[in-house]
């Protein structure tokens, strides 16, 4: 277990980069990320994003807004080098919406599930279990896809260009 904790600490910056990538991408390409295998996962950052700079907690910003894509505060925080440490994301999976609060360790803090289709209490437990699994699978696929890009210099260079261009664009351009 301590090996995993050590690994988690070593990867911490990648968790922040992944959430930042997810945050920016959620406002690009109609809010979707197309994975290497062709699947598209729709994800939109919404309502709350927490960002942190190199100084740690003393250098943090929390932005709450109905329209995060237009939040200058979040964009400026990113431009000065802060990264996303947690946020609420809406995942559209198999035609249903899941609101997920995700942190930089990729731990899900909470999920608001769509309406359940079953009525029997025991079957509802099974349905909740399976729906959570869909979200975790989506997060895992997105993260592994991000890692593949991150390890490929030319693909990552294009990602950086896209993210930087979005950060530098004005609100009007982003609409």
């Amino acid at each position: 277990m301590s090996d995993l904790l050590d690994l988690l600490r070593r990867l911490e910056f990648l968790g922040e980069e992944f959430l930042t990538y997810l945050y920016v991408h959620s406002f690009l390409d109609d809010g979707g990320i197309t994975l290497g295998d062709g699947r598209k996962i729709e994800v939109v950052a919404e309502r709350m994003v927490a960002l942190q700079g190199a100084q740690g907690k003393s250098d943090s910003t929390v932005v709450r807004s109905e329209e995060l894509s237009e939040s200058e505060e979040a964009r400026i925080a990113l431009k000065i080098g802060k990264k996303v440490t947690s946020g609420q994301f809406l995942f559209a999976i198999q035609g249903e919406d899941y609101k997920v609060v995700l942190d930089k360790d990729l731990c899900i803090r909470s999920i608001a599930l769509p309406a359940l289709e079953t009525f029997d209490p025991f079957e509802q437990e099974v349905e909740v279990f399976e729906k959570i699994g869909l979200v975790e699978d989506a997060i895992e696929s997105l993260f592994l896809d991000f890692l593949e890009k991150r390890m490929d210099q030319s693909r990552w260079s294009k990602e950086m260009d896209d993210i930087t261009a979005w950060l530098r664009s004005g609100v009007e351009e982003r609409r």
Binding site: L4, S110, I132, E140, R150, T164
Partner: protein
């Protein structure tokens, strides 16, 4: 949209048989608190649908390829203000009977312990039951609780009675379980980027 849920997902180290799981759950069922020994809490497995019961049957535990059980923690608490009042009454009674002016610190501590045990025996426990659902074949288990203390206790209990190690679902378990050695080394050699400066 409703149903906001909080939980922790674990990856389970191995796949025990149905019999091993059932026996482990029965052995690890919640027991009575031994108040006489000064203990004030206990934990263990209870039934999923009725956590007050530990009368397990395979029909309750196994459903649609999943394991359903509760992890229950019972804690007896004597409120400090109640303990203070009973202790005061007991000390005054002893002083009156013995004709002494005061008690030694050790005597007072001993009396406080006795009074606490006596009150605990009359108290009702605070019972907390947390749902556990385990997809055995997929090696995925969810505990519907996020308290660090409960998680630690649950992980230790699962290890002791079911012989499995639980690793929380997070970035480290994804990397450990999904990447080969060479990709893992590559990931560990990456350096942070600055999105603001584009470098």
């Amino acid at each position: 949209m409703g149903n906001r849920v909080t939980f922790v997902t674990y990856r389970v180290s191995q796949i025990p048989s149905e019999d091993e799981i059932f026996e482990g759950i029965v052995r690890g069922k919640i027991g009575k608190v031994d108040l006489a020994l000064g203990k004030d809490r206990t934990c263990g497995f209870a039934r999923f649908q009725n956590p007050l019961s530990t009368d397990f049957s395979k029909e309750d535990v196994f459903f649609q390829g999943l394991v359903f059980v509760s992890f229950r923690i019972d804690k007896y608490v004597v409120p400090a203000s109640t303990l203070r009042l009973y202790l005061k009454e007991r000390v005054e009674s002893i002083l009156k009977e013995s004709g002494r002016q005061r008690l030694r610190k050790e005597e007072k501590e001993e009396i406080a312990d006795e009074v606490r045990k006596s009150l605990l025996s009359k108290a009702l426990p605070a019972i907390n039951a947390y749902k556990v659902i385990w997809a055995v074949e997929k090696r995925v288990l969810r505990l519907f609780c996020t308290s660090r203390a409960v998680r630690d206790e649950f992980e230790a209990w699962m290890h002791e009675f079911l012989g499995v190690t639980l690793s929380p679902f997070n970035m480290a378990t994804i990397v450990r379980d999904s990447l080969g050695q060479s990709a893992m080394q590559k990931v560990l050699h990456l350096l942070p980027v600055n999105f603001g400066s584009g470098q």
